[in-house]
Symmetry: C2
Subunit: 340 residues, 2 copies
Amino acid sequence: MNPDADARRLQMADIARLAGVSVSTVSRALNGSSLVNEATRQRITELARSLNYSINLSAQNLRLKKNQTIAVVVPFDAQSRQHISDPFFLSIVGSIADALTDRGYDMLLSRVDAERLDSASSLYDSGKAIGIVVIGQWRHHDQLNDMAARKVPLVVWGGQLPQQLYCSVGGDNLAGGLVATQHLIAGGRRHIAFVGDAALPEVMLRQQGHHQALAAAGIAREPRLDLPVPFEIGAARTALDGLFASGLPVDGIVACSDLLALQAVQAAQAAGRSVPEDVAVVGYDDMPVATYSSPPLTTVHQPVDLAGAEIVDALLCLLAGERALPRTLPVHLVVRGSAP
Amino acid sequence: MNPDADARRLQMADIARLAGVSVSTVSRALNGSSLVNEATRQRITELARSLNYSINLSAQNLRLKKNQTIAVVVPFDAQSRQHISDPFFLSIVGSIADALTDRGYDMLLSRVDAERLDSASSLYDSGKAIGIVVIGQWRHHDQLNDMAARKVPLVVWGGQLPQQLYCSVGGDNLAGGLVATQHLIAGGRRHIAFVGDAALPEVMLRQQGHHQALAAAGIAREPRLDLPVPFEIGAARTALDGLFASGLPVDGIVACSDLLALQAVQAAQAAGRSVPEDVAVVGYDDMPVATYSSPPLTTVHQPVDLAGAEIVDALLCLLAGERALPRTLPVHLVVRGSAP
DNA sequence: ATGAAAGCGCTAACAC
DNA sequence: GTGTTAGCGCTTTCAT
């Protein structure tokens, strides 16, 4: 017996030999061509299945110049070499995975340095993927614009910015920031802190909404209440402790993620303030954790399930050669115990 | 000018023509072969980069019979068509993504029906991936064994079982269940509920540890204190409310995830019991949320960062033709407010 | 209805 | 050192 006969991968020629037909017939049979006799088609399909044969995709893709792989890129912070820790980003990835699976595409998950988002385009250039989804704009709107200008099929989860060449899909950040702050104001709060790094476009838009709400209520802006903390875990606590220690009056907090909101709750409690009585807290994202914390978080719900589908649809438009317009998805406030 | 000249993808022949050399020379230059003149190598590399050329991987893979893609499979519950919601599974995926990236592999993320884990092997059979990582055994140890018997390079995140043909990597579930319950017993608790579905191997092992701890302390098992609730969100609350309504004495809870623990805390509080005074709660996983809840969760820490590296190392062993033994990673209890 | 043969874009003997 | 050539496993004309 050939020693490596079972180690070698089965290929079409093997099936053809075993079925006593030519490879072309096998190819046709397996692809459901109507040019092949129904009986032989059955026989070949059967044989292939029983031998657990399946087509070599590298060869098929090469021949058909086809590829069904979409790259999803989750940037990481190179300084801290930190893992994706925020549950929101991971949920979005899950949602995209579902949408791609439904439409018969494969998903290549990769991570790139958040400072070099444009390095993601090598995934496209190399033919690994036919399109790219980047989760978040981070600080490099410009790099994303460059990629789009180079005709890389690209969709970005994030905020919609002026002068934007790429297609973005994201929650309505302006509205999110607005409703969060409006809710706190309606609850009688006047000294509202904003927790999030406005260097990120999404956060900047939320902060604009926040400022709009303040202005509409005739509340003067207090710059020291804007805390530019990153999403990465841990960094926020110090800033929040500092806020409560500063003596600055604070009776409300708008945080840019549920995790940040939970940290705000903790910091407040550690400083001897009760939530929501002394300080009302509004989170962002409405992740499962928002329901199960004590008190449960009032938070801005982002439509994660919808997000994956919208991102993928936009990308497929792009791949079909159509123009894909940026999409802004509706958000809404979910009122729970932390800010009734 | 050729109308679709710029639409067509650049290929080696183009570079060769432009550089005035043959394709083989380009191939050699781009692959850093020492057989090519340093000057021409420079020139070709330069040219290729300036034109943004990069190798067609389908062709390269076909030719080299190579492939650097690992499939990571996250099962989903077909009945509820539920998304991956537990942050732990998503963290593991992130950790694997990091480990694969570090080692120069690509990660294909896919989702399969948790009842048909074996369908994952088509990813291997089709050549999409050279190896497979399955997150969790779910109820189909047997299907995983079949895949391994069919020589699919496979590593499974989960518990180590007897009669196991595949390589598993997982936290030390037995020890985890043991220390969680021991800690509660040391704190004077005698009526300890266990929240998790023992039909899943990982949970079963934890439950064994739990029972061992009870036996060692001479505490009789009360079957009604074992709550077989699934990981999926939401289902647990009813069971927990039922527990507290039943009149059965309960002064401690061991939950199989931090999310389940948070729900236990909520259910206890809703039933008028205070945590940790009336009921002490221990979670599992030590996700970020455990730190930021109130009270913060005492929980069994799983080494997520290590997990990705171990899983990938095991798979690479397998791919190198070596035997990969199951690996059990150390866990430890992190004591916080919910069970001091 | 089926087979023979020509490539898809790349690499690696093998020549020179 | 560089070019020529023969495939990798598949699909698809073009014959028959």
